[in-house]
Symmetry: C2
Subunit: 131 residues, 2 copies
């Protein structure tokens, strides 16, 4: 079975180098823009400034052949299966990011805090669960 996705948006960010990306949004994530592709603008209706959403990103620079990693890139720690980590390197590198919408314009969500590279494709947006 093969699954095909098309990006519904892309990230505008000042983060341009994998090495300068924080590992998680709450560890120094910054404000970034989510630019929605024109054909998906109707799917944005009802999003509100101040609300929390989940962004699913396609981590396009990740190593998809990697099954085990040193947690947090620390080689003094024993290797662990990627499913037991949050490493971007994994067979299907989809990132899950909880962010707050700071501002909405016609095709752009300004969100915070986000730790992904400039140009990262977004494959889905959902409202965060309240609990």
């Amino acid at each position: 079975m093969e699954i095909t996705l098309s990006p519904i948006a892309y990230i505008n960010s000042t983060l341009n180098d994998k090495k300068e990306c924080p590992k998680q949004g709450h560890e120094g994530g910054i404000e970034a823009q989510v630019i929605i592709e024109p054909e998906y603008l109707d799917a944005m209706k009802g999003l509100k400034e101040g609300s929390e959403i989940i962004l699913l990103t396609w981590l396009h620079k990740a190593d998809r052949t990697c099954l085990e990693v040193h947690p947090r890139g620390d080689s003094s720690r024993p290797k662990r299966g990627v499913f037991a980590t949050r490493s971007p390197d994994r067979p299907n590198p989809i990132g899950v990011h909880k962010v707050t919408i700071k501002k909405i314009t016609e095709n752009t969500l300004t969100v915070y805090p986000l730790e992904t590279l400039d140009g990262t494709p977004i494959v889905d947006i959902k409202v965060a669960m309240r609990k």
Copy 2:
């Protein structure tokens, strides 16, 4: 840009009909099994019984052409863009499910609570954030 995913696991569940699925795990989700594909067993190392994980599912019965829905299928409520909902119907229907691992065997995670159909493909597994 086109993105291709291969399932890394499939769900075994007693839920066989979309209509009988709860809308969210905490609204009557049940115990289910995640059966890992043989080539990804190394990526499971380090998962622990009792810990919380995020499953990303491919909602294979969803309507990918849908951009607006009545929230929670309630036609008395005005339509809203799918990105402002948790509807399974959306351009890239990836489900995000926080579950607890009840039991681990060689290729199987028994998890709770899960609200997805039997046979649903899993595209990623991550540890849940602590905060």
